[in-house]
Structures are given as structure tokens and as C-alpha cells.
């Protein structure tokens, strides 16, 4: 009996969270026109969530590309198809690894810091102080971080993909000796702008940007203003973002294919 009660509660609580999250998104969207005055703040946040994430995104993109090059070369050589390494690296990175890994890294790097920052601003009454100074905290705190995330994610994904291709090229061509021309010509012949770059990289990372930023801002904004609450909210940002990214990835792939 008590078990079924808690299970009910978990389901209900999850639904409540999702509902609140949706309402929060509406509140933020309604506040977007008002937050245009705070464009400076959006730029500042773009610096924090975007530019500051560049290093980790670039390093990870490079290594993902390199390891893909290595693995694919090994597997493709069984079939005598090492010349397809570039193609498969590009397709794997564009369609899946680029947007998904970028989003996961973004959730860990920028999402948590946004959650913790907003949570601490709430705990130290900074949010209330803004309310008191007649500054709408949704428009000043939540929306700029949300917009910055939505803008930064596709850009970061592109950087990740470019570095991934570079890493694949480094391993495939420079180390394993695939012909440079073969590598590029096979890739350019197969990869399509619409299907791989726009649908694969841009659309997916745009949706991931919305979801991860929403979760991060929402968790920070609604956390109980205690140190325990902030810690818990940060964890939830990573967990909820990761699940949402991977689940949405499947849905998006099914739709965009």
C-alpha cells in the first residue's frame, strides 16, 4: 500500500514538475519582449555559457573524431572499405554524436552552473532584491540565460562537428594513411547539407538547446533556497537533461529521417 502510494507520488510529482516546467517556459516566452532591453545581459550570458564552454567542446570534439577515425578504420579495413572512413566519421558526428555529445557536455558544463547560479541568487535574496528594484527577474535572470543557451548550443555543435571531422582526418589521413583526396571526396559525395548538417546538427542542437536551458533555468529558479536544495537541483539538471536529450534524440531522429 505504502509502496504504491510512493509510486503514485513519484508519478504525480514528475508530472507536476513537467507541468510546472512547461508553464515556466510560457512565462519566459512571455517575458522575452521585456528582456530585449537586457540584451547586454544576454550577451554576457552567451559569454558564460557559450564562449566559456568552447574549450571543453573543442577538446571533446577532437577526441571523439579521433577515436571514431581509429575505430572505423579498424572495422572498415575488414571489408576493404577504409576509404569510407571520412564519410562514416562525418555522418556519425553530424547525425548523432555532434549534437548529442555537445548537449550532454553543455548540460554538465553550462547547465549546472546556470542552475547553481540562479539557485544561489535565490538563496541570497538577489532574485527578491530584483523584484524589489522593480526589475522582473524572469526577464533579467531567466530569459537571458535561456536565450544564451538556445543560441549557443547550435554554434557549439557546429564547432564540435568541425573539430570532430578534423580529428577523424588527423587519425585517418595523417596517421593511418588514408588518401587525403579519397577521404574528402567520399565525404563530400555522401554528406548532404539538408539531411546531415541542417536536420542533423542544427535542428537537433536547437531543440537540445531549448530543453537543456529550460531545465537548467527552471531547476535553478524553483529550487528551495538552501544549500541542500541547490545541490539537489544541480544534480537534477544533469539527470533530467541527459534523459531528455537521449529520449528527444530518438524522437527527433525518427521525425527528421
Amino acid at each position: 500500500m505504502s509502496l504504491s502510494m510512493t509510486r503514485d507520488n513519484i508519478v504525480l510529482r514528475s508530472l507536476e514538475q513537467i507541468g510546472n516546467c512547461g508553464l515556466f517556459l510560457l512565462r519566459m516566452l512571455a517575458a522575452v519582449p521585456r528582456s530585449l532591453r537586457h540584451y547586454r545581459e544576454t550577451i554576457r550570458q552567451l559569454w558564460f555559457v557559450g564562449a566559456m564552454s568552447l574549450i571543453i567542446i573543442m577538446v571533446c570534439g577532437l577526441f571523439v573524431g579521433m577515436v571514431l577515425g581509429l575505430q572505423l578504420y579498424d572495422v572498415l579495413s575488414i571489408f576493404g572499405g577504409t576509404s569510407a572512413t571520412g564519410t562514416v566519421v562525418a555522418i556519425a558526428i553530424y547525425r548523432e554524436l555532434g549534437p548529442v555529445v555537445t548537449a550532454l557536455l553543455f548540460a554538465g558544463r553550462a547547465g549546472t552552473s546556470v542552475t547553481a547560479e540562479i539557485g544561489l541568487m535565490r538563496a541570497t535574496d538577489q532574485i527578491a532584491a530584483m523584484e524589489m528594484m522593480a526589475v522582473d527577474p524572469i526577464a533579467y535572470v531567466a530569459v537571458p540565460r535561456f536565450l544564451a543557451g538556445v543560441i549557443a548550443m547550435p554554434l557549439l555543435s557546429c564547432v564540435f562537428c568541425a573539430l570532430g571531422i578534423f580529428g577523424g582526418h588527423l587519425v585517418g589521413v595523417n596517421w593511418l594513411g588514408i588518401d587525403n583526396g579519397t577521404f574528402w571526396s567520399n565525404m563530400t559525395a555522401t554528406v548532404e547539407v539538408g539531411k546531415d548538417v541542417i536536420n542533423g546538427v542544427l535542428w537537433k542542437s536547437f531543440v537540445f538547446g531549448i530543453v537543456v536551458s529550460l531545465i537548467a533555468v527552471f531547476q535553478g529558479y524553483t529550487t528551495p533556497p538552501t544549500s541542500e536544495g541547490v545541490a539537489y537541483a544541480t544534480t537534477r539538471t544533469v539527470v533530467a537533461s541527459s534523459i531528455a536529450i537521449l529520449a528527444l534524440d530518438f524522437v527527433l531522429t525518427a521525425f527528421l529521417m
Partner: protein, 283 residues
């Protein structure tokens, strides 16, 4: 206050870098042509066999893309595939006696429709039909042609023949190459089953240039990669006597069945078998 310009500049750099990466992805790693959808006109072509041709496969003239396959249907009651080709409006001077052939990009690549211009004064228009078509070549035929031709060319310098007996030659056929150290030195002249010894007797025709092969060399039937063709590999021995016309190679190693090969790869991977695979990929 003083930090404002620095992050603004940094943010600007970040945005520029992001868009540069996007531009790089979109232009350097894809073929923009693949998606340029200008106005097109449609022509029909009927093929006896389309092989692996797929919708949206490219249509090429002299190797340059001029359009793509729009649809592939089977005419009810007929045994030919009806392929509709969408050709860019820019290329409106295609003669109506042009030959459409289904080619394969490389050995394992995708298939595409190649157009070879005829000499007619009339040009194709919307709804026109390419009457002359050549069906897709089956891989087996192509390989046979490919290696057969290679062997014949080698024979021009003159050759000598030796025999080798195998308990199993797999898919080895006449015309397959004979290689030493991965380099072709001749070809398989004939393959026949011995009614008495119940094994396969393979006659190898080896280029005269290679007359310093020890007579205790071993012959093995190898496969180029998993799905490549089979060939005979000569592994030189240490005997002072050389192979002569009509000799027999005593030491032989039979072909491995593909199932065995796959098993080997899956279980422990066999680096020595990858080398020929690499060589094959260079074609």
C-alpha cells in the same frame, strides 16, 4: 565596467567561430550540388536490371552530376524497371539517342546512372524516354572481367605454367590473380577437379620474369578482404632449385570458407589478413 568590452568581444568571437564552423560543415564537407534543386525536367528510362540503384542516386554525364533518380517503379506486366530521371534544366541539350547505363562508384560504392551522349540532333524534353539503356552489371561479372583482363595483359611477356593441388579452392576461378608478396605475378589458367585424387588441380600461369621462385614454395588460396575475390598467393621457400614449366607446388593451403573467416575475425581478429584488404581498397 572595464570587463564589459572583453566579454562582448569574446562573445562576438564565439559567435563568429560558431558560424565559421557551420559554414565549414556546410560547404567543405558536403556536396552543395547534391541539394541544389533548380528547375528540372523528367525523362524515363527502362532497365532490365537496376541492381542497387536507389531513388535520389545521381545522374552523371562524363562523371559530372546533372540530376538525380526521381522514382523507380516496376511496370505491371513488364519485366523492366521504369526509372524516372530528374535532370537539371540547365542541361537541356541531351541527344535523344543517349545511352543510360547503371554504373557503380568503385567496387562497393553506390550505383548511379551514367549518360553517354549519342549523336542525334533531337534533344530530350520533359517526359521523353531514353530508349537505349544498359542494365546494372553484377559484381561477379565485373570482377571476372576485371581480373581476367589483368591476367591476360600479364601474359604478353610470356609465361610458364605450374600446377598446384588444393583440397578446397573456394570460389577461385580461372583468371584470378597469382600474387607474391601481394604483387600480381600471373593468373590462374585453369581449374579442374581430379577424378582420381578427388581434389582440385589448379594450373597457374606465371610471368617469365619471375623465374627465380624456389620449387618448395607454398601456394595458398586467399581472399581479398571478407567479400573480395579469391587469389592464389605464392609464399617462397628456401630451396636452391627453381620452379620450371610443368612443376607442381607440393605445399598448398586451401581456401578458407567465408564462415571460417568471419569466425576468425570475430574471435581474435587476424592482422595478417587485413593487409590484402588494404591493398584492395586502393583500387
Amino acid at each position: 565596467m572595464s570587463q564589459r568590452p572583453s566579454y562582448a568581444v569574446g562573445t562576438g568571437l564565439f559567435i563568429v567561430l560558431g558560424f565559421a564552423a557551420l559554414g565549414y560543415l556546410a560547404t567543405q564537407t558536403t556536396s552543395v550540388v547534391n541539394t541544389s534543386r533548380g528547375p528540372t525536367y523528367t525523362v524515363d528510362a527502362h532497365f532490365a536490371n537496376i541492381g542497387q540503384l536507389k531513388v535520389r542516386a545521381p545522374v552523371k554525364v562524363a562523371g559530372v552530376r546533372v540530376g538525380q533518380v526521381q522514382s523507380i517503379t516496376l511496370d505491371p506486366g513488364k519485366e523492366t524497371a521504369d526509372v524516372k530521371l530528374a535532370i537539371d534544366q540547365r542541361y537541356d541539350k541531351i541527344p535523344d539517342d543517349t545511352v543510360a547505363t547503371i554504373f557503380t562508384s568503385g567496387l562497393l560504392g553506390d550505383q548511379y546512372v551514367g549518360l553517354q551522349y549519342g549523336s542525334s540532333q533531337k534533344t530530350l524534353a520533359e517526359g521523353g524516354t531514353l530508349a537505349l539503356t544498359r542494365p546494372a552489371q553484377q559484381l561477379e561479372e565485373m570482377l571476372g572481367k576485371f581480373f581476367g583482363a589483368g591476367g591476360a595483359a600479364d601474359n604478353l611477356a610470356g609465361s610458364y605454367t605450374v600446377k598446384a593441388r588444393f583440397t578446397n579452392i573456394g570460389a577461385l576461378s580461372a583468371g584470378a590473380p597469382v600474387k607474391m608478396a601481394g604483387v600480381a605475378i600471373g593468373s590462374v589458367q585453369s581449374v579442374r577437379a581430379d577424378p582420381v585424387k578427388l581434389d582440385a588441380e589448379v594450373t597457374l600461369s606465371i610471368d617469365k620474369k619471375f623465374n627465380q621462385i624456389p620449387d618448395d614454395s607454398a601456394a595458398a588460396v586467399f581472399t581479398s578482404g571478407l567479400i573480395g575475390t579469391q587469389y592464389v598467393a605464392i609464399q617462397p621457400g628456401g630451396s636452391p632449385d627453381m620452379l620450371k614449366e610443368g612443376d607442381e607446388l607440393v605445399l598448398t593451403q586451401s581456401a578458407l570458407q567465408i564462415e571460417d573467416l568471419i569466425g576468425k575475425f570475430l574471435v581474435n581478429g587476424s592482422p595478417s589478413d587485413k593487409k590484402p584488404a588494404d591493398g584492395d581498397a586502393k583500387h
